[in-house]
């Protein structure tokens, strides 16, 4: 059975602003699920409805098969890490962690024991008597994690918990969170707009856009098998290069043709592309799937605009038919004397319907 299920979940603000549009989602017990999307896509609203901090306009939320729509947050068995951490400034670290336990009327010894345990797990044992203002951002983050763990929740909710940390700390904290999840095994929903965070943490990623779910899948599925142009564009850095082409048929062989090139299409796609002959479609090339080539084998030339060195590789920014193209290469380090580069496809590409922006193959 699913641990958490969202059915037809809808949120409308102020009568006419549609924040969440009929989403369905099932989450397995112990799963680490990441809600990923640009700001305003409804990911935080979805999480807040699951937590009970936001009313549900329509649809149902089930936790372990039980309808929780009308339950108070504290009756849902959830625990949350907030974006601002929201650790209470007038309480010591100890009291912050112990507060929920005190409300539950846990015995003093049991509280002490629990607080010590989670403080040790979160590496904040020596700060228990300090106030939040005396701690660094990373330490405050750990307090928020410890507080959330202390109540031993069935479901962890994390609302962009790493976004206020500096880049280096963010990476190390996310490893810690992942480890913690492995140890505790609690089902976790994690909201972020940072794709690398999502990719490295998630069992499955839910990509959201303007209140709807674009795609649900493992990090690899999301990247290598993007179902829509939005996903192909949003996931990956640099993002997918989109090129407008027309499908043409010559001697039973299909080609993608535009003013710059004519690319033979693998025969295995023939069935799917059958209805698209002589129509415009969009080709999506991931940056690593456009490779440098010799002049003989090249598909097209790009005018190099600039080269961004990244150390292990470089990002080459070029132009094709006055549209920007980004490719990655470990051969070109800088753009000394480079005006144009011959490029070919390595045979991996997405083809999208121009109207629906859905993937054809």
């Amino acid at each position: 059975m699913e641990f958490l299920e969202l059915k037809n979940l809808t949120k409308i603000y102020q009568k006419d602003i549609l924040a969440i549009d009929k989403i369905d989602l099932k989450i397995k017990d112990g799963e680490f699920l990441v809600l990923l999307g640009p700001s305003g896509c409804g990911k935080t609203t979805t999480m807040r409805m699951i937590a009970g901090l936001e009313d549900v306009t329509e649809g149902e939320i089930f936790i372990e098969g039980k309808l929780v729509n009308n339950l108070q947050p504290r009756e849902r068995g959830v625990s949350m890490i907030f974006q601002s951490y929201a650790i209470w400034p007038h309480m010591t670290v100890f009291n912050n962690i112990a507060y929920a336990l005190k409300i539950k009327k846990m015995s003093k010894e049991k509280i002490n024991e629990t607080v010590k345990k989670v403080a040790k797990m979160s590496n904040i044992e020596e700060y228990l008597n300090r106030y939040p203002s005396q701690l660094s951002g990373g330490q405050q983050q750990r307090v928020a994690v410890a507080r959330a763990m202390a109540v031993d929740p069935k479901l962890f909710l994390m609302d962009e918990p790493l976004s206020n940390l500096d880049a280096k700390l963010r990476v190390s904290m996310r490893t810690d969170l992942k480890e913690m999840h492995k140890r505790s095994g609690a089902t976790t929903i994690f909201v972020t707009h940072d794709q690398s965070e999502a990719m490295s943490l998630a069992d499955r990623i839910v990509i959201m856009n303007t209140g709807t779910i674009e795609q649900i899948g493992t990090p690899n599925e999301i990247y290598h098998d993007s179902k829509t142009m939005f996903v192909a564009d949003f996931i990956g850095s640099p993002s997918t290069n989109f090129v407008d082409v027309k499908i043409i048929s010559k001697d039973n062989k299909l080609f993608a043709k535009n003013d710059a090139f004519e690319l033979p299409i693998d025969d295995k796609f023939n069935d799917k592309l059958h209805g698209y002959i002589d129509k415009d479609v969009v080709f999506g090339f991931r940056p690593e799937n456009l490779v440098l080539s010799s002049d003989e084998e090249k598909l097209f030339d790009i005018d190099v605009v600039l080269v961004e060195p990244q150390g292990s590789h470089s990002v080459i920014v070029g132009r094709l038919l006055s549209k920007q193209i980004k490719i990655v290469s470990d051969e070109v380090r800088d753009m000394k004397n480079i005006k144009t580069l011959p490029i070919k496809s390595n045979g991996i590409y997405f083809i999208f319907d121009k109207e629906t922006e859905k993937r054809i193959c």
């Binding site: 937590a51 009970g52 901090l53 108070q72 947050p73 504290r74 959830v78 625990s79 949350m80 907030f82 974006q83 601002s84 951490y85 929201a86 650790i87 209470w88 400034p89 007038h90 010591t92 507060y99 929920a100 409300i103 539950k104 507080r147 109540v151």
Partner: protein, 290 residues
């Protein structure tokens, strides 16, 4: 040279304000202390303090002032805090409610007294309203209220007047509060009441202290509504006595010194009460920390 200039420049900028304070604040205050502690001929004497204390109205004025301050501050804080909590929730009509709640702030004290005086007169609008609603048969003689009833009356009128100013301070504090503190409380199992008691009030403490101290000082100095409603001497307050001596009987030989002595007494009481309040708060804070 340049350093010297830099060092003195701030003081130079402060001079006008400083001059103002010395002339119009420090000088009169020192003067008041001096006058209250000397005889007519200028020799040191506590005669006027004993005169003030032995005056027939003094005990009543002191009792009224303290009671007024204590009850009105508690009442105003409680009601204002509840109103602020309510108005802080965004709901339909909350802006209109805020607007209505702020109206009394725009009415000057003299107008307030007139408003209520006409209301509470035997054939005023309050009696009219009560009779129309069939709640009473005969008009109530409000204005003949004496002693504690009259004091309670004044407390209610004062509360009506100053509630918005207390509320607006608390509301400003609430609006600055990170909403996630409250939400964390909800998630981690606190009830509405526990959230207010354990989370909102302690975090809002600096704002609360400011609001309460401002009210305490103002409440100790109440006089005008009493005089406007009941005239001098009916419900005496400490500052009402000052006004009495400077306004009603300025020609008496002792009036000048009596009013200054009262001023010194009021100032001292206000300072002591504020100090006690701050001390109590600090002590509580220490207890919480342990």
């Amino acid at each position: 040279m340049k350093n010297k200039y830099k060092k003195w420049f701030p003081y130079f900028l402060l001079t006008p304000a400083l001059l103002y304070y010395v002339l119009f604040w420090i000088r009169p205050v020192l003067r008041a202390f001096f006058e209250s502690m000397t005889d007519y001929d200028g020799s040191f004497s506590l005669m006027f303090f004993s005169k003030v204390i032995n005056e027939s109205m003094f005990t009543a004025a002191l009792r009224n002032s303290l009671l007024f301050a204590l009850i009105s501050v508690m009442l105003q804080f409680t009601v204002a805090f509840m109103m602020a909590l309510l108005l802080n929730k965004k709901f339909k009509g909350s802006n209109l409610l805020l607007f209505v709640a702020l109206i009394p702030m725009a009415v000057p004290p003299a107008a307030v007294a007139i408003l209520w005086k006409t209301g509470f007169s035997t054939f005023g609008w309050i009696n009219n309203l009560l009779i129309t609603l069939n709640l009473i048969k005969e008009p109530i003689l409000w204005m003949t209220a004496k002693g504690y009833n009259a004091l309670l009356f004044l407390i209610l009128i004062d509360t009506w007047t100053v509630l918005p100013s207390v509320m607006i301070i608390l509301l400003a504090g609430l609006q600055n509060l990170n909403k996630e503190y409250e939400e964390a409380g909800l998630i981690f199992g606190a009830s509405r009441f526990q959230i207010i008691k354990d989370i909102i009030m302690p975090i809002l403490k600096p704002t609360i202290i400011t609001a309460v101290i401002l009210r305490m000082i103002a409440a100790m100095q109440v006089w005008m509504i009493s005089v406007m409603m009941f005239g001098y001497g009916r419900v005496p307050f400490l500052v009402e006595r000052i006004a009495y001596y400077t306004d009603m009987v300025p020609m008496l030989k002792e009036s000048y010194k009596m009013s200054l002595t009262y001023s010194v007494v009021v100032t001292t009481i206000v300072m002591i009460s504020v100090m006690i309040y701050l001390r109590v708060n600090k002590k509580k804070e220490k207890e919480v920390r342990i």
